[in-house]
Symmetry: C2
Subunit: 219 residues, 2 copies
């Protein structure tokens, strides 16, 4: 499958590398075509490419959005939205505000009654946004078995049921998330909930001194 | 022990009843001394009393605060804060706003960079506020063994370490919370995190069709 990964930070590179290792053709996208991190990432990899955000979107069947939450709106507004028509966008981003210290708060524009997930869907109405993976640390995103033998929950949301099923399958086949542990929270507006718990996640990380954990819902 | 429970709703009554059953003397407090729900609750119980908020606070060694989050500030402002001096307040409340439908959002006054827990501590600086139990459903608050044999996590926070230890002990002895599953999130400001996850909790409840669940942090 051709997959685009928008964002060259640690999360983007971790996801892009895991996808290449799973046999996909991956283009990592950044603001400029000659981004040094993207070029370094491509080196010595098979089926790994670097391009602009638009090139990566155009190249891809599925797009992972791994841009810093603070810059997503201006980034998308600068792109040709036609590149995203009918494509699945897996939105991994979080609208965190670290300016007031740790643990972070939510960027006020996305706090409580609005969310990045919804905004992405609104900005790109012809794409199919699915919020996923934003509630775990990057290394765990791409290998669920690193924690509790893969027995812990992932939460996803989005408006398009078929797109959510495709994402579930992708995460299961490539990143070892057990389908029965993926909870569909509903439409993309539920991103408010999934983004809203991330400051708590940081607090737990600080309390238990590791980011390598997740939530298991028990009844 | 003499325990005051402020609030006569389902949460307050559930906690008050469980405390009486555990052999404590409990006064349930409400705005007026002749509150019908409080009087009905007292009936046929040993060591159960009804009174005003101030009477219940004065009576108590430890106070459970179970008032609707929207009314806590005005309620506390109307009370003589001297009644709370040196007392532990276990703040169970949540600042939920159901006016925009389900799942709820957080009341704007307590969203993101402020919290009820902090406000209670600020309004009653001589009390020792400990946020606890606000992340589970009422029946589970008072009997942790109803879910997964008691193996799931409770989160607490507060500025006073000794008060937090007293609360841990109380919850363990009376409500069967295993001490090793109680995670101290830090000072009372962490209430922002613990209150911030409650809309997500409601979303999970809707997705899995039961309120009788909790989070187990797995590594």
């Amino acid at each position: 499958m051709n997959i685009g990964v928008l964002g060259t930070g640690f999360v983007g590179q971790t996801i892009a590398t895991a996808l290449v290792e799973n046999g996909h053709r991956v283009m990592i996208g950044s603001r400029s075509a000659n981004n040094a991190k993207a070029i370094a990432w491509v080196e010595n990899k098979v089926n790994a490419f670097a391009g602009t955000f638009e090139e990566a979107a155009q190249f891809a069947d599925i797009i992972f959005l791994c841009i810093n939450g603070a810059f997503i709106k201006e980034t998308i507004n600068a792109l040709d939205s036609a590149m995203f028509t009918d494509k699945i966008i897996i939105d991994v981003s979080n609208p965190l505000d670290f300016s007031k210290g740790m643990p972070p708060s939510i960027l006020p524009a996305y706090s409580n009654q609005w969310s990045l997930g919804e905004e992405i869907q609104q900005l790109l109405p012809k794409a199919k946004a699915v919020k996923a993976l934003n509630t775990v640390t990057a290394r765990l995103m791409v290998n669920a078995e690193l924690v509790n033998e893969g027995n812990h929950h992932l939460f996803i949301c989005g408006n398009d049921t078929e797109a959510k099923n495709t994402v579930k399958h992708l995460l299961s086949e490539n990143f070892r998330w057990k389908p029965e542990y993926i909870i569909d929270m509903g439409p993309i507006g539920q991103s408010r909930l999934m983004e809203g718990i991330v400051p708590f996640w940081v607090g737990v990380m600080q309390a238990i001194c590791t980011p390598m954990f997740n939530t298991l819902i028990v009844k």
